[in-house]
Amino acid sequence: MFVHSLTEDQKTHFFDLAQQMIVADGMVAEPEVAYLDRLYWEAGFVGRAGLGDVDAAVDLTIFNDRRVRLVVAVELIIISIVDGIYHPKEAEFANSVVAQFGITPEEHAALCTIAENAAQALVDMRNLIG
């Protein structure tokens, strides 16, 4: 929902993180992949989406201001809950990124609320159109 505001390099690094989030719980759920596809569309990456090394550390310093860090964090949380399950491993991954970004507990709580609203809209739409 928000990746359009990232630079091209930031988008590339974000998608590396997103792929790591998707495999964090040991399974790849269809709704997670569907949302990731949608983000590729939004980012203008359709047709050139790369597969990153999900074990390689992502350089987070490219996310160099608060707004960008909040965008990345909220998108990762949306991905993690869009399948209806917030697996402990996904939470651990999200919490690690949030901590490295220096996001406050209040901001983290706000991001979770935003992610829940967004994920609910996506789930309801999926249920509506089948």
Binding site: H4, W41, G44, V71, A110, A118, A121, L128, I129
Partner: protein, 130 residues
């Protein structure tokens, strides 16, 4: 959020309806224009809002599939409530499109809920990142 369900011609037809929705209440609010710009980016049809030809005439045959109809209505509803108000003119326009598509009252209610959740996420994120 849902334009990936449309082909390019349908995206153009949708953007014409969106252009009309934005000015429906007699003013083009900044948050509505921001979302319209985001929709243009998501559509992949450019970034020039001036390229949008506004119309209130919807041809149901342009959107023959229910999925596409739901995507169009959901996006128009999101656009209409993003500024925090749902003007009578905006509601009448949305209702006319729902009627033209032959969507049920239940579908309409679900789409309103989807739009409220999505607009809530967008609005809260805007409040958080400034």
């Amino acid at each position: 959020m849902f334009l990936h369900l449309l082909d390019d011609d349908q995206k153009r037809a949708f953007l014409a309806l969106a252009g009309n929705m934005v000015t429906r209440d007699g003013r083009a609010d900044a948050v509505e224009l921001e979302y319209l710009k985001r929709l243009m980016i998501e559509s992949g049809l450019g970034r020039d809002l001036g390229a949008i030809k506004s119309t209130d005439e919807v041809n149901p045959q342009t959107f023959p599939v229910r999925n596409q109809q739901c995507a169009v209505v959901a996006e128009l509803l999101i656009l209409s409530i993003l500024d925090g108000s749902y003007d009578d003119g905006e509601a009448a326009f949305a209702d006319s499109i729902v009627d033209a598509f032959g969507l049920s009252a239940d579908d309409h209610e679900t789409l309103c809920r989807i739009a409220e959740d999505a607009a809530g996420a967008l609005s809260k994120m805007r409040g958080l990142v400034g």
